[in-house]
């Protein structure tokens, strides 16, 4: 039968061949795609659907020693529009009417003034493991420049509509930020009105909040965008370009500890970029560590207030606008208070500082951003005498009973005459050196080192430091410098704040290099009373005082007591760092301490105002002359009696036996240390001993 078939039936073989060919080609190609290059396409498919997203780690909180919060996180609300989720226009209305209804409503809420929204609510981000915080008192902060905060930003309507149009063309599900940093009450209104605001979402972004503001801004610092120069460094550590980092003070110094580790999770998205689900186990975010400072906010506040009062009360030639208070625990170097005025409100930086605010802060001649406690170089004046005393005693230049001073030249008047080195016989060429008491017309006579410290007799220290021709050999500038360095001057203390300066301990070489002049005995005289070229930071002077108070231990001052993780476990306990033990015999340091005791407790002392009921205080006043030229006449300013302006200093420790606190007060251009700086210390010591009744105090 087959043979009888017509020829066209044979052509069906062609069709069979064609079918076979098609099947082979298709399967071959399928094999190639799925089996040979399959892995590659699997990766491409995963790249399509999987996104790595960061989970932000909450930044560490900063507490004072009593658990009061100094820095925390709070939510800032932004509003975004998602064009793809906006409602369709209602039946019979033109295209875009749906958008308009929602935008009308949203903009109406955003433009409502905040006063209408009722009482301000305070709802910080809950910090579950926070140590029990005391109820935050309404803290009167130091007077700072009134700079308005960054206002909520809302995109103009026309721009929003334009962005929505653009969004519809491209990614309709990409969010468009239309308002930033809106008030919390406004955010609540939007959250409540979700039903009518289809396509609108609230976005929470954590920002920093500093409850203590200007009170602690020089300790805490502020945050901001990563500086361009450090971007690479930070990116290597896993930061994103838009991340905020600590820029100053502890926020910067402890950036690594506070930052934590952001988590990552993989999410699956659809073609519009909408999240479908989370894939796999997320790499959880590790919250930043918390800092617990040794700072006592009570003390910090009292110190700030009393310093501020003093600044406010000053006027005339001694109008003071800048000052520092440092309080240290002399037993281990823990900082109890660190006040620097004028201050600024670091909350100005939390939403990104405005250009106007930055300009205002940086153009102020009182430099509110400048921490003069660690970066200011000032003549220490008479409080430097405690170091010179210790040096003289240890070097054997004097004994505790050695009497030096005024009156050997026939007149006990607070003035000595240093003969000219090249014409000692010519009294008319002799240079006069006066003690502060000369203007009152009396001298202290020949006295021991204790008395000299108590009454702050300059003549005694001129002679101790520089000697007197044919009568007495002094320490000399080299030895004074050596001991100044032993007590921490001329080097940074190493406190956890950036920008610390080392001050200046001059010597003859330094003077030759800088002034092209020889070092003269007169220079040593000046140096002996903390004048002339000696410069120190208030923190250095406080730390030197602590080393005398604790009989020879120079500790590194530290602000951070310990660091805890988010569960409250201590991850870094406090560790006192001994910079050095002074080579001065403790019994000789006791002599210096007795002198400081006398200054406060003897009737002829310079600091009798510092007596605190129930506690024995010892201290040393300082009134350091400096040259300024405010009237710009090319000559140093002088008051009507011809005196140079002075910085007021006072440094003290208490209790006298087993000291627990060192307070150093510095008021720039403040006038007399005894009348201006000492009363501030009194208030601080009172506050401290009210809070910490001392067992030794009654003795």
């Amino acid at each position: 039968m087959r043979g009888a078939r017509q020829p066209e039936y044979g052509r069906l073989q062609l069709l069979r061949g064609l079918i076979l060919l098609v099947v082979i080609v298709l399967i071959g190609r399928l094999w190639q795609l799925q089996m040979i290059t399959g892995e590659q396409y699997r990766l491409l498919a995963d790249r399509n659907r999987l996104r790595q997203v960061d989970v932000t780690a909450p930044r560490g909180v900063i507490y004072d020693r009593n658990g009061e919060i100094l820095a925390r996180n709070r939510p800032s609300f932004s509003v975004v529009v998602i064009p793809g989720d906006l409602p369709k226009e209602p039946e019979g209305q033109p295209e875009g009417a749906g958008d308009a209804i929602v935008l009308d409503r949203l903009l109406a809420i955003l433009s409502r003034p905040v006063e209408d929204l009722g009482a301000t609510l305070e709802t910080p981000v809950p910090t579950p493991t926070a140590p029990p915080a005391r109820a935050t008192q309404a803290t009167p902060t130091p007077s700072v420049m009134a700079i308005p905060e960054r206002q909520p930003w809302v995109m103009p309507r026309a721009e929003i509509e334009e962005k929505i149009e653009l969004g519809r063309l491209g990614g309709a599900y990409q969010s468009i930020t239309v308002a930033r940093h809106i008030e919390e009450e406004t955010a609540f209104l939007i959250a409540e009105d979700t039903v009518n605001l289809e396509g609108i979402q609230l976005v929470l972004e954590p920002i920093r909040d500093y409850p203590s503001g200007a009170l602690t801004s020089h300790i805490i610092g502020y945050m901001g965008h990563i500086p361009e120069t450090e971007l690479e460094e930070y990116e290597a550590k896993g930061y994103e370009q838009n991340d905020q980092v600590g820029l100053t003070a502890l926020e910067a110094a402890f950036e690594d500890a506070l930052y934590g580790k952001p988590g990552r999770q993989t999410i699956e998205v659809d073609v519009h970029g909408r999240r479908v689900r989370t894939v796999g186990e997320p790499d959880a975010a590790v919250p930043g560590h918390n800092l617990v400072l040794s700072i006592d906010m009570n003390l910090q506040q009292v110190a700030t207030e009393s310093l501020q009062e003093t600044l406010d009360a000053s006027s005339g030639f001694t109008k003071a606008t800048q000052g520092v208070v440092v309080a240290i625990d002399p037993r281990d170097g823990k900082m109890l208070a660190l006040v620097n005025l004028p201050s600024y409100d670091n909350n100005l930086f939390t939403k990104g500082i405005t250009t106007e605010a930055w300009a205002a802060l940086t153009s102020d001649t009182d430099l509110p951003l400048f921490n003069r406690a660690i970066s200011g170089r000032f003549p220490p004046g008479s409080i430097f005498k405690i170091i010179v005393s210790a040096a003289g005693l240890e070097e054997g230049v004097i004994t505790p009973r050695t009497r030096l001073g005024d009156g050997f030249d026939g007149s006990n008047d607070g003035v000595i005459w240093l003969p000219n080195e090249y014409a000692p016989w010519d009294r008319s060429l002799a240079q006069s050196f006066v003690s502060w008491n000369a203007k009152y017309g009396y001298g202290h006579g020949m006295i021991t080192v204790r008395d000299a410290l108590a009454v702050s007799d300059d003549i005694f220290f001129y002679e101790l430091g520089g000697g007197y021709p044919n009568r007495y050999t002094g320490l000399g500038s080299k030895k004074i410098g050596e001991y100044a360095r032993i007590f921490g001057l001329g080097e940074v203390t190493g406190i956890e704040l950036a920008g610390e300066v080392d001050g200046l301990v001059p010597d003859s070489r330094w003077k030759r290099l800088n002034y092209a002049e020889n070092w003269l005995t007169g220079d040593t005289y000046n140096m002996s009373i903390g004048q002339g070229y000696v410069l120190a930071t208030p923190l250095q002077m406080a730390n030197a005082t602590a080393a005398i108070a604790n009989r020879g231990y120079l500790w590194k001052p530290q602000l951070v007591d310990h660091i805890t993780d988010d569960q409250g476990n201590v991850v870094r306990p406090f560790e006192a760092v001994l910079l050095r033990q002074t080579p001065v015999d403790p019994s000789l340091l006791d002599v210096v301490r007795e002198g400081m005791y006398g200054a406060v407790n003897w009737s002829n002392g310079t600091a009798v105002r510092v007596r605190v009921p129930g506690v024995i205080v010892a201290g040393k006043t300082g009134t350091a002359e400096f040259a300024r030229d405010n009237n710009k006449d090319g000559q140093p300013d002088r008051d009507d009696k011809g005196n140079l302006p002075t910085h007021a200093w006072f440094t003290a420790f208490a209790p006298y036996v087993n000291p627990e606190i060192v307070v150093t007060v510095f008021v720039a251009n403040g006038g007399e240390g005894s009348s201006v700086a000492a009363p501030i210390a009194t208030k601080i010591l009172q506050a401290y001993f009210e809070e910490n009744p001392s067992a030794e105090a009654g003795k």
């Binding site: 039968m1 017509q6 020829p7 066209e8 039936y9 052509r11 069906l12 062609l14 069709l15 069979r16 064609l18 079918i19 076979l20 098609v22 099947v23 080609v25 298709l26 399967i27 190609r29 399928l30 094999w31 795609l33 799925q34 089996m35 290059t37 399959g38 590659q40 396409y41 699997r42 491409l44 498919a45 995963d46 399509n48 659907r49 699956e268 998205v269 659809d270 073609v271 519009h272 479908v276």
Partner: protein, 367 residues
């Protein structure tokens, strides 16, 4: 009903067709899963299938030899339809291919293919003694021209091409002489150049150019093919699982339920599933060729050849497009892609083949 119990009804063919169609409904369900608006479409496709099976049986019941008498009128009727929709047809997707019938859209160009097959089979079977003359194949081509032109004007290049291919296949099988074939091939090539310059629309040129040189194509054009390839490639041996393909379920792949349904299959069911699908098609096609070879007469043989060519061409072009070895044309995968008109066309075609099979030459013992 006698028909259904006839020993001669080809249950094997029907089983293959049913397997493919049900396979299609499942893949459509997967491609449309998560889409609330189109959630009912897999069920609609199942409904089309039910209705289409009725059409298949009706077609099978009718003696195909009777169709010879209505071959030309039927062809003219369909051509008339094409003219009508060119005038009043609903515009969809930039092309006038649809005729609204109540809620449904009818695509007469699909059914035109059946009319072309019957008309051409009739024409060629009555002139098999005159194949020596070049006039016979020229006449056959002239017969195709109105259908090709009208469908091309819709515009639907793919369907117009498929009509040409079906016609060519029938011509070849019916004994086209080699010299004539060479002549037509040369003429076709010569016509291709003016056709490219004057006849093809820009989007069609783009698709061909993109196929020839993928990097030249616009991003939007490349997107579909790239995503289809990614879906297929990531399928591996066993696939990502039905309803689990990320390219499909997360909508990276577009026109999933029609043009790119093979990509969904390869992604979710893997190499095994895709080869199974192609194997089903192969069995179906070989069965059809077998039916053609046992047909009682040339008319029947050519009808089956036409249907075979139609299925084979669409299979090659659609899967080839998914696999990026063919240009992008809107040709659906037979029995699988969503669409009532296309499915009915296929099922009517199969019905014709069943009709040929039912009445094939008696080789057995029953007289």
């Amino acid at each position: 009903m006698r028909l259904l119990f006839s020993r001669r009804f080809d249950w094997y063919l029907l089983t293959l067709v049913l397997l493919l169609s049900v396979f299609g409904v499942i893949m459509i369900a997967s491609a449309l899963s998560g889409n609330e608006v189109l959630a009912s479409w897999p069920w609609r496709q199942a409904g089309f299938l039910g209705l289409g099976l009725v059409l298949l049986f009706i077609t099978a019941a009718v003696d195909y030899r009777l169709l010879a008498t209505v071959a030309y009128p039927l062809y003219l009727l369909l051509l008339a339809f094409l003219v009508v929709i060119a005038v009043i047809g609903t515009v969809a997707g930039g092309a006038q291919r649809w005729l609204t019938l109540g809620e449904f859209l009818l695509q007469p160009s699909e059914l035109t293919k059946i009319a072309v097959i019957i008309a051409l089979a009739h024409y060629l079977s009555t002139r098999k003694e005159r194949m020596e003359s070049i006039l016979t194949p020229i006449g056959a081509l002239l017969l195709l021209v109105p259908a090709v032109v009208l469908i091309y004007l819709q515009p639907s290049l793919g369907t117009a091409l498929s009509v040409l291919v079906i016609g060519s296949a029938m011509l070849v099988v019916s004994g086209l002489r080699v010299r004539h074939a060479l002549l037509f091939g040369g003429a076709g090539l010569a016509a291709a150049i003016p056709a490219w310059r004057f006849l093809l629309e820009d989007y069609m040129k783009n698709r061909v150019l993109m196929f020839l040189n993928p990097s030249q194509a616009a991003a939007a054009d490349r997107y579909n093919v790239e995503q289809a390839i990614i879906g297929i490639g990531s399928g591996g041996w066993w696939g990502r699982g039905l309803f689990r393909g990320s390219q499909n379920q997360l909508h990276f792949l577009r026109v999933r339920h029609t043009d790119f349904i093979f990509s969904v299959t390869a992604e979710e069911l893997g190499f095994v599933g895709a080869v199974l699908l192609i194997a089903l098609f192969a069995l179906l096609l070989f069965r059809l060729v077998h039916i053609a070879s046992v047909a009682r007469d040339t008319f029947g043989m050519l009808i089956v050849t036409g249907v075979t060519a139609m299925i084979l061409f669409q299979l090659l072009v659609n899967i080839g497009m998914n696999l990026s070895i063919m240009p992008v044309t809107g040709i659906p995968l037979p029995f699988i892609s969503y669409g009532g008109s296309a499915l009915w066309t296929m099922l009517i075609g199969v019905g014709l083949c069943e009709s040929v099979m039912l009445r094939h030459k008696k080789i057995g013992f029953d007289a």
